[in-house]
Symmetry: C2
Subunit: 428 residues, 2 copies
């Protein structure tokens, strides 16, 4: 049986999962692919901490270069964008293909890395970079290749989804649940990458690129996290039949691309709204296939390892077939005219105002909306809220710049008591 030599660089959580998978499941992978994946080196600065897997000591090294030398394929799991980038370029230069889970690196330096892979005639796979164990890159790039992609909606950050699920279930505030998530290891000590939406943005950029043939990156993407999300908004959304999720959104509207990462209202009845806790889900809508949904664990040692080793198995098949670059890291092929600025995007909106309860308030508020041709589909003001009351409005589709204009005017009303809250609504 043919054998593919695998070097792993980065023996942290995911690295240990990959090593565990290769040691425990290489027999069944060999039955399925006809190739034996053989672990030849595990490199990390720290090779002494117990990772819960029994690596033969002769495979351990403190030198990443050793992993490159001893292998046919290098798995980059060190994270970050500096050493990881150098490691990958070194591996390419040595003629070795690379598998990575590093979405931040791809979003930032994707094009440079893809060019280097091409120059060196090697493969570069990154299934684990989006939605962890869910094979969504393979689905988009291969399984749904026959479709023009209309829309992609992704719940792609387990930390945020866990926090939102608990806030909704327990009626708890953001800060309280975040602190608990940190205690349980579901959120980092510095949670910004997750809760401010950047991690979701990296993944959104990768999916958008594969859908539309242009490497967008996250420059200029409209990104908003969940840090300022109030329990009151989750509750009002729920009352109105919606759930708020941190959604990566990609749309093709009139030949232009819209991309954003924002807390978004989606109907509770939608399958996507049922994705809770740390799970991820990606809805992909194609012109022929219609709506599809891919669901599973978006992070964690074992689920991420599943995706990394799937890439290794793909490389093993290439290796056995004597082919490289059957599917290049990224193939350019633009399908769009332009990226639509956030202000030009049309959607439905949720607005929540806090206003003094006195005559003429609703008249003043609704006149501001009416003057901008913003049509109201639903309005709630509950009784007995005290002196300042929440006024919640759902709109029909309107351009975001009109909504933002209205928000400025609403904020300057003398009866206004707090910043106006605004979220997009997406029909799934």
């Amino acid at each position: 049986m043919k054998e593919l030599k695998v070097g792993v660089v980065g023996f942290g959580t995911v690295g240990a999962g990959v090593v565990d998978n290769l040691l425990r499941n290489r027999d069944v992978i060999a039955k399925r692919t006809g190739v034996m994946l053989t672990l030849t080196c595990v490199a990390d600065l720290d090779t002494t901490t117990d990772r819960g897997v029994a690596v033969p000591p002769e495979l351990l090294s403190n030198d990443a270069a050793e992993a490159i030398r001893r292998s046919d394929v290098v798995v980059e799991l060190v994270g970050g964008t500096t050493f990881a980038k150098k490691l990958i370029l070194d591996a390419f230069a040595a003629g070795k293909s690379v598998v990575t889970a590093n979405k931040a690196l791809l979003a930032l330096h994707g094009e440079e890395l893809f060019a280097a892979a091409e120059r060196n005639g090697v493969d570069f796979y990154y299934e684990a970079s989006v939605a962890g164990g869910i094979p969504v890159i393979k689905a988009l790039r291969e399984g749904l290749v026959a479709n023009r992609i209309n829309r992609i909606f992704g719940i792609m950050n387990g930390t945020c989804n866990y926090i939102l699920t608990r806030m909704e279930r327990e009626g708890a505030d953001f800060a309280e649940v975040l602190a608990d998530a940190q205690r349980l290891g579901y959120a980092e000590a510095n949670p910004s990458l997750d809760i401010d939406g950047f991690d979701t943005a990296h993944k959104t950029a990768i999916l958008a690129a594969l859908a539309y043939g242009h490497w967008f990156g996250i420059e200029g993407m409209n990104i908003e996290g969940i840090r300022d999300l109030k329990l009151a908004d989750l509750n009002y959304a729920s009352e109105l039949g919606y759930r708020i999720k941190l959604l990566g959104v990609i749309k093709n509207v009139d030949g232009a691309v819209q991309m954003s990462v924002r807390p978004t209202l989606i109907p509770k009845a939608a399958l996507l709204a049922g994705i809770s806790d740390v799970f991820n889900g990606v809805m992909i809508e194609g012109d022929f296939v219609g709506q599809t949904l891919f669901y599973g664990r978006g992070a964690g040692r074992q689920a991420t390892a599943s995706a990394v080793v799937a890439d290794l198995a793909d490389l093993a098949l290439n290796f056995a077939a004597g082919t490289r670059r059957r599917i290049p890291a990224f193939r350019k092929g633009e399908q769009f005219d332009s990226v639509t600025p956030a202000g030009e995007c049309v959607s439905r909106f949720y607005l929540r105002l806090q206003v003094a309860e006195c005559p003429g308030v609703i008249a003043a508020v609704t006149k501001i909306l009416a003057d901008r041709q913003i049509s109201i589909s639903s309005l709630i003001q509950h009784e007995n809220q005290g002196e300042n009351v929440s006024l919640v409005i759902l709109t029909h589709p309107a351009p975001e710049k009109e909504i933002r204009g209205a928000m400025t005017e609403l904020s300057s009303l003398s009866v206004n008591r707090a910043p106006v809250r605004m979220f997009r609504i997406e029909e799934v």
Copy 2:
């Protein structure tokens, strides 16, 4: 740009969808794969009926052999198991790769066809044979290749799921909804293949084979359809927090495989229970990835075409890379010791008895269960049902043979008034 010549045999619903896709989306597929898929022949006995797609007349033929001669790849969409089989073998013999959506043919003659493809050194792909547009074969065979598969639960027949959804939503009887589904074109005039579970069984057999490396076929599979399903059982299930779905079930328990197609209770809270109408969903649970779910349209002209053309794109990539049989039609590699007979399978059960309302009935019923060590987890008997009452019991896990034994005894109770209804319960 390289060009792959495609011949389509069978210009019915799906055939027209494939032709439509190739004519409308070949530009975007070429951008993504670097290969142009060129339609070179569409063969059918009937080439005059308007299929809603503008095929250049010189591509039409009444001769399937013409499609083989003019193409690099043949798409078999004639259905059935006689002419379709001959056509595929003829294509293989001519050195042409084949794409099919024909699950019945695969379930019946898979191994013979796989051997012929191997002998002729050609590719044979069949993504569209399971769950229509959902790329679930690619997910199982490639995306989740690093996993030992614990369980697969599939809602894979749109006709049945449509009928069950309407029965539950409208409180309608099976026969009534079936008649309506036939009128709307969602069910065949002869609906047996769908409603008696055979179509789901064909798909279950294919997924089981890919999961466990043995071509099982449907011989000896435990198959039960929805023809005898009563509205009362959907209602009781709902009251208890469950929904009844026609589920293809594949499990690996203690090194043996369990396979069945049966109406099954699943918890309403499970994502799988939210799959309604004609949609399909497949839950795949692997040892590393955990639970994943793949959702979309399982049938129809456009969704099925999406899967067929995805296979063509895969073949195009092989063609451009100068490789064949990178992923063979089927690779043997058994992982199991045996297939567990239905009677030995352990699960929870739903039982509904219709009994006379008189003293001692529940005592007699529960004694029969107790004597067989069948433990009751829930029991319902509503008031005011009249002379004969429904008694609904959910059990803790028990071997099916004990349940069937108990059913025989229950049926012979003097107070029994109707056949005992029994369904499995699966926790998702």
